[in-house]
Symmetry: C2
Subunit: 417 residues, 2 copies
């Protein structure tokens, strides 16, 4: 009897009507002869509400370090939202005549590290679930996003962690497929709000999805895609609100035909910072990016110009929201004499556009085609980085939509491969 994992996110269980709607999908799979593991998030908005309460609790008048609090207690509070939806889903399924029960993280147990607030799943012993399936249970409803640390405290997996819960269960119980029900109906060649020509993909390779997820296509939590790739768990992203098939995220080998470029991602809120005339010596990059990492600045692209007369320019990109932090960290390090630069040039009006596709591995000239296309449109490229299956460029923000639309046409992404 094949086993299926079905994950419903916060918008898919936002109220009882939606929980019933999700349960109908579960019932359909049970009727097809599947055993089903359902993973549920908290009702949308609920986790934010709980996080807010914890923040308020920790910023009392007597607080010495406002905003700092015991992550174990954060987890104990924030994990409660999924307990509500898992119990409600079990009741709704039972009302439909299905043998279902809820499982809290510690009951399975979902064993995690003790990194509270961002724990990693270490193991999911399958004995308890298997025994219950053996006794006639048709559906196990699992509270997502949570687990239990070695010392028995409740942990959470970080925001979006229910996707990871779903993939981990699919891996541990060797599920046929892991269906991620969400509020979009699949993965698109690019953001449909930018071009109406964006096309829903039938299939996408894990590696491509990883690049797209980390580039700002927020459909799946990056870690869940990594975990699926490592364990060869076939993931399907589909809509809770329709009956259309979604997009299958799977091994490259399972995809027969593919375009050279599979998708185009873009990210609006980028900034480019350049340290002008840095003394170029071994270790200077470490000296610069060490303090930035300590300050929590998320550095993305890095470019170092050719050194002239022992001096160079160092350019990097980061989220716009991190610019002030970055500036303070760099000036403090300069004041401590850790490195020197003449001035700091800031450009907070840039966006990143990336083309992604496993087909690039076997096709030369893809980057060249991209650069030529931008040149033809009169778009100046500020920074370039590449990986085996991706080319990213930083451009003036006002050109972002134009660039995406133009590349979408150039690589013919509106046509199925």
């Amino acid at each position: 009897m094949a086993l299926l994992v079905m994950k419903f996110g916060g918008t898919s269980v936002a109220d009882l009507e939606r929980i019933r709607n999700a349960a109908v999908k579960v019932k359909r799979e049970v009727a097809r002869g599947h055993r089903v593991i359902v993973i549920v998030s908290a009702m949308s908005g609920e986790t934010n509400k709980l996080v807010g309460l914890v923040g308020d609790a920790a910023s009392g008048a007597e607080a010495e370090a406002p905003g700092f609090y015991d992550a174990r207690e954060y987890d104990a509070v924030v994990a409660s939202g999924e307990l509500v939806t898992s119990g409600l889903m079990a009741i709704v399924l039972q009302e439909m005549g299905i043998q279902a029960r809820s499982w809290q993280g510690w009951q399975v147990p979902v064993n995690t590290t003790s990194a509270h607030g961002a724990a990693r799943i270490e193991s999911i012993p399958r004995e308890n679930l298997d025994r219950k399936f053996g006794e006639g249970m048709e559906v196990a409803v699992i509270a997502g996003f949570q687990g239990v640390a070695p010392d028995g405290r409740v942990t959470t997996l970080g925001r979006g962690g229910s996707d990871t819960t779903a993939v981990a269960f699919a891996a541990a119980l060797e599920a046929e497929r892991c269906d991620i029900y969400t509020d979009v109906d699949g993965i698109y060649t690019t953001d449909p709000r930018i071009t109406a020509k964006a096309r829903k993909l039938d299939k996408i390779a894990f590696e491509e999805m990883l690049e797209l997820a980390s580039l700002g296509a927020k459909v799946l939590q990056t870690r869940s895609v990594e975990l699926a790739m490592r364990n060869k768990v076939r993931l399907q992203v589909l809509s809770s609100f329709s009956d259309e098939p979604g997009t299958l995220v799977c091994d490259e080998d399972e995809i027969m035909e593919t375009n050279v470029v599979t998708g185009i991602a873009c990210s609006r809120d980028e900034a480019k910072l350049t340290l002008i005339s840095v003394a170029d010596r071994p270790g200077v990059a470490a000296a610069i990016f060490g303090p930035l990492a300590e300050a929590g600045v998320i550095v993305d692209m890095i470019v170092q110009n050719i050194s002239e007369e022992g001096r160079t320019d160092m350019t990097f990109s980061c989220p716009v929201g991190d610019v002030a932090k970055a500036e303070r960290a760099l000036e403090a390090a300069k004041a401590r004499g850790e490195f020197n630069y003449r001035e700091l040039d800031k450009d907070t009006d840039v966006a990143k556009v990336s083309i992604v596709g496993v087909g690039m591995r076997s096709h030369a000239g893809v980057a060249q085609k991209m650069f030529k296309n931008l040149a033809d449109d009169g778009v100046n490229i500020k920074v370039i980085t590449t990986s085996e299956i991706k080319v990213s460029v930083l451009v003036d923000r006002k050109y972002m939509e134009l660039t995406v639309q133009s590349l979408h046409d150039a690589f013919e992404l509106d046509r199925a491969p």
Copy 2:
């Protein structure tokens, strides 16, 4: 180092300001050198909200028996409210510099029966808590109202169950005292809304509190008082919103001076039903009250008149809300030929007034004094029942306040003993 249990009800943890207010009281006890076990309820309104969600989940379009649902799932959902408040309380205490941590029912563990929705605590092993206290923990914040069944499912103890949690911890860890913080400042000789002469009691015996609790003084859950009495746990009822001492509920032996009557309870929504001319034969009482119990009618007082010529009148009282149910059950049983009666007389306009006091044991004439007092006021007594420390009468509802005020004066309850 003495150990204290402090329980805060839903109104005492209704928001973060109140949680901080409660934490200040905890901090004060820690400063006095106590180890403290804090028991918290869910924020007021939260449990009702969760119960409502479960009810709605179970009344789906496909539900075969609306309102019927898996009590294990009910418990899983409804117990989540206390997880939130226990985590928040721990954070607030930590912000005040106190070593505190939250404990969920299953973490302690609070072992209960598997009677979901109304489970009983079977044991609270003290090893885990003792070890943490040994490691320097000053305050254990326990999620009230919940425990874990032998099969590892979450259980709840029934409404008001956090009082029982508090007393059970006080008993298991041999606490010096169990303080129940609530929205009233103690136990009064009678309802202060009925007479301004009502006086707060310094002390009250367990037995008296039990009679008052079951008679409608809703300050403490009856079961928690029973448990305290059995384990000789000294209970103090006091206000979260003041620093005044409350009322100590304790062993009779600890109370040196007492009035003959300690308190007067009253209950407004009573009904009196009389089956007129019932064939009097052995087993007729069982034949009548069996169907009533099956129908869920809460029968309180029962009076059987003297039998004449093999026929008798049978009178009983029940809540007004149960009258229709009682009538249907009796008529159905009559139709089945289980017993016979000429007519059913209903009086839905009655109230119950009770005087309670352990002093009655050693004083004769207390009931007589009560009856005479009512007679002097022209109040007709419809039904009388007595126990060793209580006399209850049913009177026309319009006389309830008058009767309470008059008895309060007659037994001089406004004066301290």
